[in-house]
Amino acid sequence: MSIDVLRVTKNFGDFRAVDCASFKAQTGELVALLGPSGSGKTSLLRIIAGLEVPDSGTVHFHDDDVTFRATRERNVGFVFQHYALFRHMTVFENVAFGLRVRHVPRAQADERVRELLQLVQLRGYEKHYPGQLSGGQRQRVALARALAPDPKLLLLDEPFGSLDAKVRQELRAWLRRLHDEIHTTSVFVTHDQDEAFAVADRVVVLDRGRVQQVGSPQAIRRAPANDFVADFIGIQYAEKRS
């Protein structure tokens, strides 16, 4: 499913979090929203999910205007930055949640959960609680839970943000392979341009709520649209080298 975000603006009190932002994601694409903290990337992601309503502008899924549609009717998968797993449920019940609330027949739901736990390589952890898992494992549970109801769109907020460097590298490569396998249109938020460029088909660079540049990793690296983009990429290169 394609997404079309058109001139979206969102204020929190006096703070303009998103300022007339527009971008598109084609069906099956993996898009990164890249920017420093406070650039509005998470707000934009939450607007796409319906967790926030924009003050102006529209969000379309295909040709369908969903700007004011309730979150639960959008059928999107959302992976929260700190996973937001249900601590009182087992791994199995966490993944099954989206199916249970939709009253999917139990046998069918259980089969789907087993399939997903296989996909995220967590077979054998069905009866564990989130508190008993490592960060990387929780991340994969969150991903399996988001994928269980078969969403048309997968949204990930700093999916590797709270993991250590090594796990991060592994998960990054794994997410790319997973995406190539399931082909769900995906949007993820990151402040790390390495991550954005390594994983995404297309990158949307944001600063202070405004879209600075949209393009493939190669295009952005070859021709940064303005000083901010050049600077942001440049600074991060310098940091990596030192």
């Binding site: 999107v76 937001a84 601590r87 009182h88 949640f97 989206g98 609330v101």
Partner: protein
Amino acid sequence: MSATVIELYPRRSLAAGGSRVVRGILIALALGFVGLLLIAPLIAVFVEAFRKGWEVYAASIVEPDALAAIRLTLLTAAIAVPLNTFFGLAAAWAVTRFDFRGKSVLVTLIDLPFAVSPVISGLLFIQLFGARGWLGDWLRDQGLKVIFAPPGIILATLFITFPFVARELIAFMETQGREQEEAAVVLGANGWQTFFRVTLPNIKWGLLYGVILCNSRAMGEFGAVSVVSGHVRGETNTVPLHVEVLYNEYQLSSAFAVASLLTLLALGTLAARHFVERRTRGDRA
């Protein structure tokens, strides 16, 4: 290096020795204080209650007026606690999950029953529902009696015990944040499903803690209830009021016998509280 380390040992043990004395004194002081002000009166209650033997103790409790007081107290708690659990949940939900105008005023108002003296809370209900109160004439025309009757006692108890569940839950739900609920909604859960499958299991220990405190106050409240009750023996006396009546009539053993029931309730509350506190700490971590 090694010389310094060796030198440090005697000094450190000296320091520890000094603090051991100070620590001993402080612990003795604390225990003495608790013993004098808390434990001794607690023991005194039971000593006095059983002074004239088990028969008098039992007789004081099964005596009709005492039974009526126990019944009224249980009835009051049975109405006030569930209602305040419900209101407390609603208030905590509204305050921690929505942004709206007047939110800070609401949070402050929730504390009002704690801020005013219980006697004033009682007078406030007399002013509202009493024979000369604002609604007095209307109530008389309807043939309803609120003040000097069980409805007044229940209303006053509701008012006094309102903050317990709400306050406990607001603190609890604020530390938990909205993320798990948002996750549930994105996954397709409706309001009820989110509440019963995600919110409630997460707050259950905090809720239970609030309910325990609410119940202990509902059964033990004296001031506000005393003002609206009218002290009609066997009709509008709750357990705490009955204790006072007995005491004023110099029936000391009976007064302490009935008081021992409230003391047992308090001890039970403390034990339950201790248990739930440990569970909530585990949950928050």
